[in-house]
């Protein structure tokens, strides 16, 4: 029934052939991509316009840590694909196992990231303080962009946990697992831009 109380026209379906929740997550992803895009553009502007932009990252430990984090996140996308395929083919136990591995990998990514932040904060980096004497805006863009991404990762791990629990109890279906997977892949995709632009472009 529509809101006006009239039944939907016979044969009327989704214009894209997908459920509403999937379309909704796609619209969210486009909006969120524009948000990250704006932050990365702002970072680029500041980097070009600042005469004393700092390039603080050495291969060890920062870039090496970043490579591991990237590999972990990419692998978590693969395990999420496994969860979606298993859910869609009715293999609930396998799907739950894949979801658990995805959460674990998301947790590993968050721990590695927080460890890196802690080391930088120990060195004197803050949102608006640069211990190397260059532009203080490096900290603002680094912590701002990676912090927003980390928030997405942590939220994603929590959401996967909630969906997995509902899926186990039969409250959620394979469609919910797929929708969660789309969000998780998006978080991975954003990192594919954050790692080269924020880390690799700032090696010593």
């Amino acid at each position: 029934m529509t809101m006006a109380g009239h039944p939907a026209a016979p044969g009327e379906g989704s214009p894209y052939g997908i459920p509403s929740r999937k379309l909704a997550i796609w619209l969210f992803i486009v909006a969120d991509a524009a948000t990250f895009g704006a932050m990365l553009f702002a970072y680029g502007y500041l980097r070009v316009a600042n005469p004393d932009w700092t390039r603080p990252f050495a291969f060890w430990p920062t870039i090496a840590n970043g490579i591991v984090m990237t590999a972990v996140l990419l692998t978590s996308s693969l395990t999420m694909v496994g969860a979606v395929i298993a859910a869609q083919s009715g293999r609930k136990a396998a799907s739950l196992r894949w979801l658990a591995v995805t959460m674990l990998l998301g947790g590993v990514f968050a721990v590695l990231h927080l460890r890196e932040w802690a080391a930088m904060i120990d060195e004197g980096w803050r949102l608006f303080r640069n211990p190397m004497g260059g532009s203080p805006l490096f900290g603002a863009t680094f912590f701002g962009i990676t912090g927003l991404h980390l928030l997405h990762v942590i939220s994603g791990v929590v959401v996967i946990g909630v969906i997995a629990n509902g899926f186990r109890r039969g409250r959620f279906g394979a469609g919910h697992v797929e929708t969660t997977g789309l969000y998780w892949h998006f978080v991975d995709l954003v990192w594919m831009f954050v790692f080269p632009l924020i880390y690799l472009m700032n090696v010593r």
Partner: protein, 101 residues
């Protein structure tokens, strides 16, 4: 709801390996002492390739109706292109830099 049949896990593993390989190429290029502009262009190109692989395969866009792709992706690209208005000002500031004392 109609969604075209998705491929098996084997294809996804190949895409995952390809993505890991691209990350490796990015790191190698970073330490190849390229000019900053060349490095930036290369990294952006490779990141775009990774994004395309992620969207088409992991996010299954290749197997949805084309109308979904054409409704979402061009709109996002237009938004990102519109943000390029800021570059002339950043470049102006870069060229106004004083020589080091």
């Amino acid at each position: 709801m109609e969604t075209r049949q998705s491929p098996g896990m084997k294809l996804y593993v190949i895409v995952w390996l390809g993505l890991l390989l691209i990350v490796g190429v990015e790191v190698v290029l970073t330490y190849a002492h390229l000019p900053v502009g060349t490095l930036l262009a290369s990294l952006l190109l490779l990141a775009g390739l990774e994004a395309a692989l992620g969207l088409l395969y992991f996010m299954h866009l290749r197997y949805e109706r084309p109308s979904l792709f054409w409704s979402l992706v061009p709109a996002l690209l237009v938004v990102l292109v519109l943000m390029d208005h800021f570059w002339p000002d950043a470049l102006r500031l870069m060229h106004q830099r004083l020589p080091p004392p």
